[in-house]
């Protein structure tokens, strides 16, 4: 699936939305005065600034042009973000080496040309290497064994 949008319109939308979101999230923060700023003073200023930038972009788009058309394929985005989320989800259950192994195997779905022997070899090397470097040598507190099992 491919999303298409004009550049200027998209950035105008982005800044306006971020500004509006920040205003909404910060609406319960004390603003105060310049001499005695509340926690909300600077965030409010920036949120209004973002909306301002969004409006300037909008005005520029209306007056001149909406810029080039840009497009975004959704599958690679969902795929990579999915791999990252899967890493976070699987790590506490499966431990580091197994998680890395599964990640490398799952990465073959990217559509890049690959050979299974090389993938398997790199999956094994990477999972063992990561466990040795991060778990054993650098002693990071990353679970190494599945389901909290310890040798």
């Amino acid at each position: 699936m491919r999303l298409k949008i004009r550049q200027q319109l998209a950035s105008s939308l982005f800044f306006t939305c971020v500004g509006a979101l920040a205003l909404w999230l910060g609406n319960d923060m004390a603003v105060g005065t310049a001499a005695d700023m509340g926690v909300g003073y600077v965030p409010r200023l920036l949120a209004l600034g973002c909306i301002g930038v969004g409006l300037v972009q909008l005005a520029g788009g209306l007056a001149r042009s909406w810029g080039d058309a840009v497009s975004l394929e959704l599958w690679p985005l969902a795929f990579v973000v999915g791999l990252v989320v899967a890493f976070a989800g699987i790590l506490p259950l499966a431990g580091l080496p197994l998680t890395v192994f599964l990640l490398v195997i799952a990465a073959t779905l990217s559509g890049e040309a690959f050979r299974w022997t090389t993938v398997l070899l790199s999956a094994v090397l990477l999972s063992v290497g990561a466990a040795v470097v991060f778990g054993v040598l650098l002693r990071l507190q990353i679970p190494l064994w599945p389901l909290g099992w310890r040798p």
């Binding site: 949008i5 550049q7 998209a10 950035s11 982005f14 800044f15 920040a22 999230l25 910060g26 923060m29 005065t33 310049a34 001499a35 005695d36 700023m37 926690v39 909300g40 003073y41 600077v42 965030p43 920036l46 949120a47 600034g49 973002c50 930038v53 972009q57 520029g60 810029g67 840009v70 497009s71 975004l72 394929e73 690679p76 985005l77 795929f79 990579v80 973000v81 990252v84 989320v85 890493f87 976070a88 989800g89 790590l91 506490p92 890395v100 990640l103 990465a107 990217s110 559509g111 890049e112 690959f114 090389t118 993938v119 790199s122 990477l126 990561a130 991060f134 990071l140 507190q141 990353i142």
Partner: protein, 500 residues
């Protein structure tokens, strides 16, 4: 002046012994080996390697620490150049043109230029420290909240000017960056801000989460998406060494970067970081053809690398005069030095001159070791790029995930990094350069704090920024940058109108 030179000589005589040189070499070696792993930034590298130095006597430990520091920094630059993964804010600048050079088969040249420019800057700024430490530490003391605010504004404007996207969009990105930086607990009141009640956000968002996301993850998605049209660094090498043209263009840039770094580095709080961004902006402005920047301009690597290194060295002055570390890496170095009996503070320079000068000397030796170690290894690092993308991207992805997880051991950070990856890609597509956002993310909280303090002291009167000479000067420089910028934009538009 003579006794300053004598002091430096004393420092070198302490630091120079076979045993110490070996410590230094080992430090640089480990620092580079860990630092070069994508996803492990200098901060993580130094933190991981600190325990090795604990068992040595102070001088040996100090010099090994210097080796680790330089190794980690350079390892960070290496991953920034080879796979576009800046592990810390200053490498963001290096990655912009360094990575483009790598894509054009000039990775070797970029790595060599980075090493040589930082070595050159290190040599000069060691002398700068020796000559200027006493007077400059007085200048640093003249900095009040108004001046800090002005300095940060200047740094952010420089970042906007150097961004390749539209001016308005870059200003917007800076504001978004500051907003992101403010997420979390407010320092002065302890109130939660913009956290949506999510507990992992209470401490704020980690820099590495944002940087890995918008640069590392976004780059992977981008490459997978543009499979047909992409140009990856493919280990195609047109010479491992910088060409004569490269050298001709890089030298003056490194020289200017060194000056900028030495000057800005003595300003407490983020001086080195602002220096590398400012140097990039300066080089882009001075270049005959600014459009080369962002597409593999060698000055864009040499200048900022020199500025960063000179700035890091020079920042020892305010660090010891005021006890304020300019960034997280330096804060860690201070912590390590404290373990070995070096306590920063106004009296340190006067009370323990030998240790101070031994430290200055060992920083220089660490820098030297780095060049000795890494120039021969350039070929090895470049060869890593020949691995086909199908096998390389899972590797980068894995290191990103582990690197981010290892900072706080929070799975939330890993997921957040994925989110920033998606947002970063969208932003790049719609013409909003993420680099100014990342700088603003780092400077934002400091900027807000100083801004609040300034207006608290002036009782809400904004005119202090204009009436204090130093802050007025810094703000004038920022305005000048904007004016120069809009002039060249206007000229470009007029040229286009004439052509059309």
């Amino acid at each position: 002046m003579m006794d300053l030179l004598a002091n430096l000589g004393l420092g070198f005589s302490i630091a120079f012994s076979v045993k110490n040189l070996i410590y230094c070499f080992l430090g640089a070696l480990f620092g580079t080996l860990i630092g070069v792993l994508p996803g492990v930034g200098p901060l993580a590298t130094i933190a991981l390697l600190l325990p090795i130095t604990f068992h040595l006597e102070p001088t040996g430990a100090l010099i090994m620490l210097a080796g680790i520091f330089y190794g980690a920094q350079y390892g960070g630059s290496t991953t920034a150049i080879l796979v576009n993964l800046p592990g810390e804010a200053t490498s963001v600048v290096t990655a912009m043109d360094g990575y483009q050079m790598a894509r054009q088969g000039r990775a070797g040249a970029a790595l060599a230029v980075a090493a040589l420019a930082s070595f050159f800057a290190g040599c000069v700024s060691t002398l700068v420290i020796a000559f200027l430490a006493p007077p400059l530490s007085k200048l640093a003391l003249a900095f009040g909240p108004a001046e800090f605010t002005a300095l940060f504004v200047l740094g952010l404007i420089a970042a906007v000017v150097l961004a390749s996207g539209s001016f308005v969009a870059s200003i917007g990105m800076v504001m978004v960056g500051i907003l992101l930086g403010l997420v979390g607990t407010d320092v002065s009141t302890g109130e939660q801000r913009l956290t949506m009640g999510m507990r992992p956000l209470f401490d704020g968002i980690e820099f590495i989460v944002v940087a890995m996301g918008v640069f590392g993850i976004a780059e992977i998605i981008d490459n997978l998406e543009r499979r047909e049209t992409r140009q990856l660094p493919d280990g195609r090498i047109s010479g491992l060494w910088p060409t004569r043209d490269d050298a001709r263009m890089a030298w003056p840039a490194a020289l200017r970067g060194t000056v900028l770094g030495s000057v800005l580095g003595v300003l407490p709080g983020g001086g080195a970081l602002v220096a590398s961004f400012a140097s990039y902006g300066l080089e882009k402005r001075l270049a005959k053809d600014p459009s080369r920047f962002g597409k593999g301009a060698v000055e864009g690597v040499a200048g900022p690398e020199a500025a960063n290194n000179a700035g890091a060295q020079a920042s020892f002055i305010p660090m010891f005069a005021l006890g304020i570390p300019p960034n997280a890496v330096m804060a860690l170095m201070i912590a390590a030095m404290t373990i070995h009996g070096i306590t920063p503070g106004p009296k340190f320079l006067a009370d323990k001159p030998t240790l101070f000068w031994a430290m200055v000397a060992s920083m220089w030796i660490g820098n030297l070791m780095l060049v000795v170690l890494n120039l021969p290894l350039v070929g090895l690092w470049v060869r890593l790029l020949r691995v086909p993308y199908a096998y390389l991207f899972p590797l980068i992805l894995t290191f990103c995930c582990i690197g981010v997880y290892s900072v706080n051991y929070r799975l939330f950070d890993v997921i957040l990094m994925g989110g920033f990856g998606a947002v970063g890609l969208v932003l790049k597509r719609i013409g909003c350069e993420p680099a100014p956002m990342v700088l603003a993310f780092v400077l934002g909280p400091m900027l807000e704090e100083q801004f609040r303090r300034t207006l608290l002291l002036s009782d809400g009167d904004f005119s202090v920024f204009a009436t204090r000479p130093l802050s007025a000067g810094l703000l004038a420089a920022a305005v000048l940058l904007v004016v120069l910028m809009s002039f060249s934009a206007l000229r470009k538009r007029r040229d286009k109108a004439f052509e059309g």
